[in-house]
């Protein structure tokens, strides 16, 4: 089936070549970091030892988990509109897990020793569990997507033995993001992170950003191929993203209430640092307000029926939601958790350009994995002409 990803237009190959070029640049930047040390190449410090890459891990685990928003309605509730798009969602999860795992790998000071995590399994460490749940989720989504697509190619229903794996993937999806939240939510002294709300808040942002990305991808697929993911499916995804976004904004409000009504300094300081600046440190303020403004744009465009139903405004709204949550959870959340530090001091974080290149390389790997898998899926669907429900899926 993979050979279907190897047949394409010049544009397709050109796109892959550009991605490969970015991957090479990313690898070179990563090698440079290891040659010079991360001191001059990362922007990180003893006060802010985690930054952009751990933000990417956090954000993209969410994107991966959000595949459950198409898999669950389709398989558990028999919501047939998602039958065409489910495989795309699963392959998006595969690519997002690849980005997450590479992001966390890229921060390792001793990458050659990473296998120690398996050699010396340490169940009290959340990173150990993160490695387990992410690699399992990667395998599950690849398996489910691949087998269902093979069946579709042969004009057959998916084999029965796959069912347990599909159910496994469904309950595994929230668990991968809970584990990510537990990286933060169990650290004494990190007041901004240590909230029981963290896991559900992460799920809310995941289910807003993930479906928003899937909608944008569906629009691109409609443009570049004859496969039609289905307008009803897209509208349902928009509703899911809208409600999840509303929950996310509600949770932000809850954090503000707890911090400022209690007047607890540890809780207030980080929020002040993020939204108005603290002791003259205002680096995060424009980022967080940009995120807030984008969230508002997304909220309005997806809440108003007219703009939600119109493809162009829906796409703008989804892009706004995606980047709003990326700025917040993928960037500001991690670095601001270190403010103030153990000595009640503030250290700002600005990623070095070398760090940005490494992240671009990681993104490019993810886009490449998704492009290859998606190309294969589209080719199968274009040949099948009719979806599992007997509806025409090719324009």
């Amino acid at each position: 089936m993979l050979h279907k990803a190897l047949k394409g237009s010049n544009k397709y190959w050109g796109f892959l070549a550009i991605l490969a070029g970015i991957v090479v640049v990313g690898v070179l930047a990563w090698l440079r970091e290891h040659a010079l040390g991360s001191g001059p190449t990362s922007g990180l410090s003893r006060d802010v030892p985690w930054g952009l890459h751990i933000g990417q891990l956090t954000f993209f685990v969410g994107v991966a988990a959000s595949a459950v928003m198409v898999v669950l309605p389709y398989y558990l509730h028999d919501y047939k509109e998602f039958s065409r798009i489910t495989v795309i969602g699963e392959f998006l999860a595969v690519a997002a897990v690849v980005v997450s795992m590479l992001s966390v790998f890229s921060i390792m000071g001793q990458p050659a020793r990473v296998f120690y995590v398996l050699l010396h399994p340490t169940p009290n460490s959340i990173i150990f569990w993160d490695m387990i749940v992410l690699s399992t989720y990667l395998g599950l989504n690849f398996l489910c997507g691949w087998v269902v697509l093979s069946a579709e190619r042969q004009g057959m229903p998916a084999p029965k033995w796959l069912k347990p794996f599909i159910y496994w993937a469904i309950f595994w999806a929230p668990s991968i993001h809970m584990v990510t939240a537990f990286l933060y939510a169990g650290l004494p002294g990190k007041h901004h992170w240590m909230t029981a709300l963290q896991a559900v808040h992460f799920l809310a942002t995941a289910f807003a950003a993930g479906p928003a990305l899937l909608i944008v991808i569906s629009m691109i697929i409609k443009k570049v191929s004859h496969f039609d993911p289905g307008s009803k499916a897209i509208r349902k995804l928009a509703e899911i993203s809208l409600y999840a976004l509303a929950l996310h904004l509600f949770f932000i409000g809850l954090e503000f209430f707890t911090a400022f009504y209690s007047q607890s300094p540890g809780h207030m300081h980080t929020l002040e640092y993020l939204y108005v600046g603290l002791d003259g440190h205002r680096d995060m303020v424009p980022i967080v307000w940009a995120s807030s403004a984008l969230a508002l744009v997304g909220l309005v465009l997806l809440a108003v029926p007219g703009t939600r139903k119109k493809e162009s405004t829906l796409t703008v709204g989804c892009l706004a939601i995606f980047f709003s949550i990326w700025l917040d959870k993928g960037f500001a959340f991690v670095a601001s958790g270190f403010v103030p530090n153990a000595f009640d001091r503030i250290t700002d974080y600005r990623p070095d350009w070398n760090e940005l290149l490494v992240a671009a390389g990681v993104w490019a790997v993810g886009v490449m994995v998704f492009t290859l898998l998606c190309k294969m899926a589209i080719a199968v669907k274009e040949e099948a002409i009719f979806d599992q429900q007997g509806q025409r899926q090719v324009r």
Partner: protein
């Protein structure tokens, strides 16, 4: 009152006993003379004995933690023997810092140098990338939330020595995915720089900012290398290990030796120990006790 179960009780007479080492710490030749003759393996930066010791201690920690792997069982007996010989059973090391006894900036520097020079801690100017095992902070930043503007002026202007708190319930140990940092039975929170994968989770988890990552190649920032302690490589985390190598020889930590009696070291489980006496006779405070970490560095204010 003084019982001499191990050579450790000697730490009571700190100024006298520690004199040779503190001289070395103040810029003189490195105290290599105290050590057994260096072995061939020190080419790679690790003494065979120390590596062997560290490995056994690690195995004992694994076994103690309940993860009794077959390897752990094989080495358990030997490991516990080594531990018993090195540190004695039932000990709980702690450090009491009497801030009033450290007078001048030179006194502070002597303590810091004694540690940093022996342990090959790189000298880095950029604060963001510094490696520090023991250093000074002012009162209000050492004890945020505790410091009052009406506290005695002497206290407010006084530098406080800060270092790893060797917690009873260390968050760094909880989060480490490879057991590179682990707690010994005698309370020392150890760091195995050869096991560390450089994920920095321990730095994120430590609520005392006591851990340092090698953001830069450390050898480039060492004016001289002490052959008796392994220099580190880029990309690993390090911190104070309470001079486990000194303790194994029955000597107090180097900072204690260099402190002219201002730092008191000993076994909290021993009612007759100098640390117990110091804590019983003075009002002491510890950093961020509300986090449940049970820090074991006490400050006499």
């Amino acid at each position: 009152m003084p019982e001499s179960r191990t050579p450790f009780s000697m730490s009571r007479g700190i100024p006298e006993q520690g004199a040779p080492a503190s001289q070395a710490g103040q810029g003189g030749p490195l105290p290599s003379g105290k050590q057994p003759a260096p072995t061939a393996a020190q080419e790679s930066g690790v003494g065979t004995d120390r590596r062997h010791f560290l490995k056994l201690v690690g195995a004992a920690a694994v076994a103690g933690a309940g993860g009794i792997a077959s390897l752990g069982v094989l080495q358990e007996v030997k490991a516990s023997q080594v531990l018993a010989e090195a540190t004695g059973p039932g000990k709980r090391w702690a450090l009491v810092i009497d801030v009033h006894k450290i007078a001048t900036q030179e006194d502070y520097q002597a303590i810091i140098d004694a540690c940093h020079r022996f342990h090959n801690v790189p000298v880095i100017a950029e604060p963001k990338h510094q490696v520090k095992w023991i250093w000074t902070e002012d009162y209000s930043h050492t004890f945020p939330g505790l410091a009052s503007p009406y506290a005695p002026p002497e206290l407010q202007s006084k530098p406080f020595l800060v270092l790893c708190n060797h917690c009873d319930n260390p968050p760094c140990v909880r989060v480490c995915p490879v057991k590179a940092t682990f707690k010994r039975e005698d309370g020392i929170v150890m760091q195995d720089m050869h096991r560390c994968i450089g994920c920095k989770f321990c730095m994120v988890a430590c609520p005392y900012g006591a851990r340092s990552y090698n953001w830069l190649p450390p050898r480039d920032f060492l004016p001289q290398i002490n052959p008796d302690f392994p220099p580190r490589t880029t990309g690993v985390v390090e911190k104070c290990t309470l001079c486990y190598e000194q303790l194994a020889q029955g000597l107090p930590p180097l900072c204690v030796e260099a402190s002219k009696g201002a730092l008191v070291f000993g076994d909290l489980n021993d009612p007759g120990s100098p640390v117990r006496a110091a804590i019983a006779s003075h009002y002491t405070i510890r950093r961020a006790t509300d986090l449940g970490t049970e820090p074991h560095i006490f400050y006499i204010v």
